[in-house]
């Protein structure tokens, strides 16, 4: 049962204000409050509870029940800094307590050892900011394990020969295989590859007052009513509130981190539900607002002392945006898979995690077997799926195809690398304001050619699997430039050099001693998709580092 946390006055100087209650913010809130600190979490969205979730596609997918509303918080997009940006919805993220972890797919593989040291292993890539991380897989391993056990991940240790070393098995056994997983596993093995049960942040067994998965099939885009999906809302936020020291303050839209004339932050100014300005005082500030809103908040917090934005002496705040290459290939089979049931993914393949440089481009990725399309989205034909393009979109043939395809179709999703390119960025739009009068988020993005070659390569492997599986027909959209951004990575990157990075290995801003940033923005490289597991491991580690600094007196003014 949920036990609400305390209510602090905004004039109380709490130990930490955390902006964002998602995958990272939730973990930090739990860890810091458990370690004895007084914490206020500002969340821009509402505090929804499981009984408020529903499976109504119109409400969830089309009316943004759980995600940001592009009408109220518009974006603009341009390909290069020379172009004028035009208004279009480009960034999608969770907007409720729990953030994007409420509606995510819950694919939870770890990054591999190579992800942290790839620049050294592989050498520089011209035109990019390709870099090693200041930490290694070994530094993060204990925290990955903490995510497995505390947030809750189901999977089978040792099933993938490519998996990095782990100190403990998964906390829960793997979820049942789906028809898509069986088809994928058999075909991939025929090709000599090594598919394995998907690690998922979804409970296969009931635990800690949370239910086991009921296989309803409404995972991606939807909230989980039984608490099986390991959102921060279901997992760590109740633990934070139970400490009696953590207040989750919903409907609180942070727009400025205040700093004093000694260059230290003093708290966060935000709009409350009535659009009234409030200021929450704190000894230290943690931004976990996601890879778009964290840099935006820093840029909005420009001041005399920090003219380029807070913590931005390097000039790289908002830069090196990496969305992960992604593409889905579909196949239809003779018999019903009924893959709309249960979790999205049940089998994953990492044989192409590291591609041979002799191919002539940088890249790598993972493939998974899935179905992620609910009835309306399937009928309309959305970004993620629907009928093949050669089938009429209305009339008798359309109706027959709906009947024939929905239960018999599956997808293979390709998740790939994105290279960090400096001009790919989030910035403040000079001409457009949001519903609160704040500058809108502007996205500047052109895919690196290697990223497109990589995703094309992975797409061809997916087609090989479908061929080996004997699919009656396969189809996919053309490989396109990235137009919608779900993974918001790299925009306040971690590093040892204050000239080329925003935070150090402790997630501490190089420029501001009592400001910490931890979310997708902290990543140095993109991994091969599925960043949330790593974001949460980083958050557990950051909480340890921040606690050590605070206990040592390093955060005192």
């Amino acid at each position: 049962m949920r036990q609400a946390g305390p209510k602090y006055k905004s004039s109380d100087e709490v130990d930490f204000v955390i902006v964002g209650s998602g995958a990272a913010g939730g973990v930090l809130a739990k860890e810091l409050s458990t370690n004895g600190f007084r914490v206020v979490v500002l969340e821009q969205g509402p505090y929804l509870t499981p009984e408020q979730f529903d499976h109504d596609e119109l409400h969830v997918s089309f009316q943004n029940a759980l995600t940001n509303d592009p009408q109220k918080q518009p974006n603009t997009f341009r390909k290069t800094p020379q172009d004028k940006a035009s208004r279009q919805p480009v960034v999608n993220y969770g907007c409720c307590v729990g953030g994007s972890s409420v509606h995510f797919t819950a694919n939870y593989w770890r990054f591999h050892e190579i992800d942290f040291i790839e620049r050294s292993k592989r050498g520089p890539i011209p035109g990019t900011g390709f870099a090693d991380w200041p930490i290694t897989y070994a530094d993060l391993e204990p925290y990955y394990t903490k995510v497995d056990w505390e947030v809750g991940v189901s999977g089978l240790a040792g099933a993938s020969p490519f998996d990095p070393p782990r100190s403990k098995p998964y906390a829960y056994p793997p979820l049942p295989v789906k028809s898509s997983g069986v088809i994928f596993e058999r075909a991939a093995r025929k090709l000599g590859w090594h598919p394995f049960p998907a690690p998922m942040a979804i409970l296969s067994k009931a635990a800690d007052g949370r239910g086991a998965c009921v296989h309803c099939g409404f995972c991606v885009e939807f909230g989980c009513e039984v608490g099986a999906k390991s959102s921060s809302l279901a997992s760590v936020i109740p633990l934070a509130e139970r400490t009696g020291r953590c207040e989750i303050r919903p409907n609180s839209y942070a727009f400025r981190v205040e700093a004093n004339d000694r260059g230290r932050v003093t708290g966060v100014t935000y709009f409350d539900a009535q659009k009234q300005q409030q200021f929450q005082k704190a000894k230290a500030v943690v931004l976990s607002a996601n890879g778009a809103e964290t840099p935006r908040l820093l840029l909005l917090s420009a001041s005399k002392l920090f003219p380029n934005g807070l913590a931005n002496s390097s000039g790289v705040v908002g830069k090196y945006l990496m969305p992960n290459g992604n593409h889905e290939v579909f196949g239809v089979f003779e018999h019903p898979l009924n893959d709309y049931k249960s979790v999205v993914v049940s089998r994953v393949l990492h044989d192409f995690y590291e591609l041979d440089p002799k191919l002539g481009f940088y890249g790598g990725g993972g493939l998974d077997a899935r179905f992620d399309t609910t009835p309306v989205s399937f009928g309309l034909g959305s970004f993620f799926g629907g009928l093949p393009k050669d089938i009429p979109t209305w009339g008798r043939a359309y109706k027959s195809a709906l009947r024939e395809y929905f239960t018999c179709t599956m997808g293979i999703f390709c998740h790939g690398t994105s290279l960090p390119v400096e001009s790919n960025s989030f910035s403040l739009d000079p001409g457009l304001k949001d519903a609160w009068g704040l500058p809108a988020l502007r996205v500047t993005y052109t895919d690196h050619p290697d990223d497109l070659k990589n995703i094309t390569y992975l797409k061809d492997r997916a087609l090989e699997i479908f061929e080996a599986a004997g699919a009656r027909k396969t189809w996919h959209a053309p490989i396109q430039e990235t137009q919608v951004f779900y993974h918001l990575l790299g925009t306040c990157r971690m590093g040892n050099d204050p000239k080329t990075s925003v935070i150090n290995a402790d997630h501490r801003a190089h420029d501001v001693p009592n400001l910490f940033l931890c979310d997708g923005s902290s990543l140095v490289t993109s991994g091969r998709g599925q960043p949330t597991m790593t974001i949460q491991a980083l958050a557990y580690r950051a909480a340890d580092r921040i606690t050590a600094l605070a206990k040592h007196g390093d955060l005192d003014a």
Partner: protein
């Protein structure tokens, strides 16, 4: 209906390993919505139109019935798509009232242009209607009607369409919202996970 709800709670609690009381507090929203939709769908008298005039409704229903026709099985008409659209125009799509009225006018215009003397789309023959929509299939007006027809056919019945889950039955979607494996044909005889032989390449 109450029995059905209790039964599903029981099935859920045995499947999830959590107490029936826990399920009763956490899960019923979905089931209640599904049951409500089911009840609404079974109601004897058809709902009244709130926004659309009878003439508009007749035209839109004719368009919807070409988008998802009635063949050997029910289509948009039998699924009550028109009631979904009427409710949408009163609620979340109220800003589209003008666009819908415009769209009807455009469809009627095209009907007259292709078939002089036929002033209403709904009065045209099925072949004529198909020709009209074919000529318009790349217009925003057609896109609007298609969007609402597909939504009205496949969205949750609590929205007013998809009556008796006609749309879901057509595509093979089971609305139980709780399942146990095997889910489909290919995982029925799965023997269980076996490690693949050999090392990584």
């Amino acid at each position: 209906m109450q029995d059905a709800l209790s039964r599903r709670r029981f099935v859920l609690s045995s499947a999830t390993g959590i107490s029936a009381a826990w399920v009763a507090t956490h899960w019923p929203a979905i089931l209640a919505a599904a049951d409500h939709a089911h009840r609404a769908a079974q109601a004897a008298s058809p709902p009244k139109l709130a926004v659309l005039t009878t003439e508009q409704a007749t035209e839109i229903e004719a368009i919807a019935s070409q988008i998802i026709p009635t063949d050997d099985g029910p289509g948009a008409r039998e699924a009550g798509v028109i009631y979904f659209i009427d409710r949408a125009l009163k609620t979340f799509a109220s800003s589209q009232n003008g666009a819908v009225a415009d769209g009807i006018a455009q469809v009627q215009e095209k009907t007259k242009e292709l078939f002089p003397g036929v002033t209403k789309f709904s009065a045209a023959s099925s072949e004529q209607q198909i020709a009209v929509l074919k000529a318009m299939e790349n217009t925003p007006a057609f896109g609007l009607f298609r969007f609402h027809t597909v939504c009205g056919f496949l969205a949750d019945p609590s929205r007013g369409g998809n009556r008796n889950e006609i749309g879901w039955k057509l595509i093979g979607f089971d609305s139980s919202h709780a399942f146990q494996p095997p889910f489909g044909y290919y995982d029925k005889d799965y023997p269980g996970w076996q490690p693949s032989g050999g090392d990584k390449k």
